[in-house]
Amino acid sequence: MSYSSTVQELIDSLGRLPGIGPKSAQRVAFHLLKAPPEEALRLSRAIVDAKERVSFCARCFNLSEGGDECAICRDPRREERIVCVVEDSQDIVAIERTQEFRGRYHVLQGAFSPIDGVGVEQLRVKELMTRVGEEDIEEVIVATNPNLEGEATASLLVKYLKPMGVRVTRIASGLPVGGDLEYADELTLGRALEGRQVLDAGTPADG
């Protein structure tokens, strides 16, 4: 049996979401079809609202609502001289929870991974270089994930940023290796920020 084109379109759209395979897409589609109309409408409205109101910050590429720049970039109390570089906006949430960091951020929107077709052009690296050139930035803290791709991204950033005369540091190890920043607990992440170390272009980020 095959589904009607309306149902198939729903399944296909769900199946294109990250982390959702064909089986899960079917399950979610049937859940929505069986649910009361309000539930499906609430979801569709939430998606449309988010798409309309939320955009990426023109400066740091964090999520931003109600303006070109995100709330952190607009906050005059945040230090301009320190920028913390992360892979995704979720990582900002994790770091903010530690309350250890009062500077600003830069979101790369991914990590360096040739297998996934992600190179320098796919990441917001050139934009970071522009910021380092134009803003009053003294230190760039690289807080990419403590896995292979995160470390490679860190090495790559050092290569680009060191010649610009900015101090580049890496959050200290102590985070679970191979892990995800997003899931690190506040205490560990706070200590990792505090114990950050200067990176040299010559040495790989993982020693």
Binding site: G21, P22, F112, I115, G119, L148, A152, S155, K159, P204
Partner: protein, 361 residues
């Protein structure tokens, strides 16, 4: 480490099976194609999270079923019992639980149970190309130093990343691409140098045990050597710089531990091309025995021995000799034909059509 019980659901030919294992020698008997090897494969999966037959996990799920489930109770030397559970679904990720606690990183299961597998295919270790010998030594390195599991998987991933980058360069390396290649080169150099050193150290540590194992199994004394032939000299970082043009042109990494060879020699001659089939078989068994002995000697683990159909390939004399050369502890062997007369199993499991029909001993 002892495996006390094993329970399978929808694993290979087993719909449901459950068995208690003796802590000595267990003989698994039955006609061909009944599920003897499948049983050993289940145990080896728990140890290494993969089939020793080198097939993807999907092949392990019983035809028509959505997921296979493996459950084992194991006992560590200090008497502590652990319940290991693995669910291998056809779709989605494997779920691993130890004592009902889900492991956040599934790979942490590796090393909880250690096994040494002997199979008739081991002959290819001696006769085939270098890839199998690299796999053998890397598995031995990880058994000897469980922390190197991360090194091995990093190395694999770095090579995939570097090769993907080389392919995407389409034979030409412009400024940015050269920069990014530098990054993977430094990762590959660090991991590659470390893996080569670990392999060479282990071969040196193994040498006396390999010699002793060969003498015992072959029942004659011959000089057995392993010679590590690296694909580069000195520091891998420099070798990678030197091969960069070539790598970019070909779109693959032409130097590194994934291109190294381990030459095996018996009496000064390369075993691959000069040794008799019998000598090759003895050497293959000795390679497994030597890796096992090193792990035991270092006190890392007492691997469970899994011997799949190895006696049928040996003449009675060599079979006896192998049986004598085996360390004690928990041993499971399968056979469709005969057992060496000297073998006195503590337990016999008879397998028919994916069910364990009789147990004795």
């Amino acid at each position: 480490m002892l495996i006390r019980t094993l329970e399978l659901q929808n694993f290979r030919s087993y719909e449901e099976a459950s068995v208690s294992l003796s802590d000595g020698l267990t003989a698994i008997v039955g006609e061909n194609g009944q599920g003897k090897t499948n049983l050993l494969e289940a145990i080896s999966w728990i140890a290494g999270m993969g089939s020793f037959r080198g097939v993807p996990d999907d092949a392990l799920i019983r035809l028509g079923a959505d997921a296979a489930i493996l459950r084992a109770t194991v006992e560590s030397p200090d008497g502590r019992e652990q319940l290991i559970e693995a669910e291998l679904p056809r779709i989605g990720r494997n779920r691993i639980q130890v004592n009902r606690q889900r492991l956040s990183r599934a790979r942490d299961l590796v090393g909880v149970v250690q096994v040494t597998v002997f199979s008739p295919d081991d002959l290819e270790l001696v006769k085939d190309g270098p890839a199998l010998r690299r796999r053998w030594i890397d598995e031995a390195v990880v058994s000897r130093h469980p922390k190197h599991d991360a090194l091995r998987s990093d190395l694999e991933r770095i090579l995939k990343q570097r090769n993907a980058l080389l392919r995407s360069a389409h034979g030409r390396l412009d400024g940015d691409a050269a920069f990014t290649l530098d990054v993977w080169d430094s990762k590959l150099a660090a991991a590659g140098n470390a893996m080569r050193a670990a392999r060479e150290d282990l071969l040196a540590e193994m040498a006396p045990r390999l010699a002793a194992a060969y003498d015992a199994v072959a029942r004659e004394s011959a000089e057995v050597e392993t010679i590590y032939e690296a694909s580069w000299h000195g520091d891998l970082a420099e070798a990678l710089a030197g091969s960069r043009q070539l790598d970019v042109r070909r779109g693959v990494s032409t130097v590194g531990p994934h291109r190294d060879e381990i030459v095996l020699r018996i009496g000064g001659a390369p075993a691959r091309t000069h040794a008799s089939q019998g000598e090759q078989r003895s050497l293959a068994l000795s390679l497994r025995l030597a890796a096992d002995a090193v792990v035991r000697q270092a006190g890392v683990a007492e691997p469970v021995l899994l011997l799949d159909d190895v006696f049928s390939e040996l003449d009675p004399g060599r079979a006896e000799a192998l049986l004598d050369a085996l360390p004690g502890g928990q041993r499971l062997l399968t056979t469709a034909a005969w057992l060496p007369p000297a073998a006195t199993p503590d337990q016999v499991l008879k397998i028919t059509a994916g069910t364990i029909v009789a147990a004795s001993g």
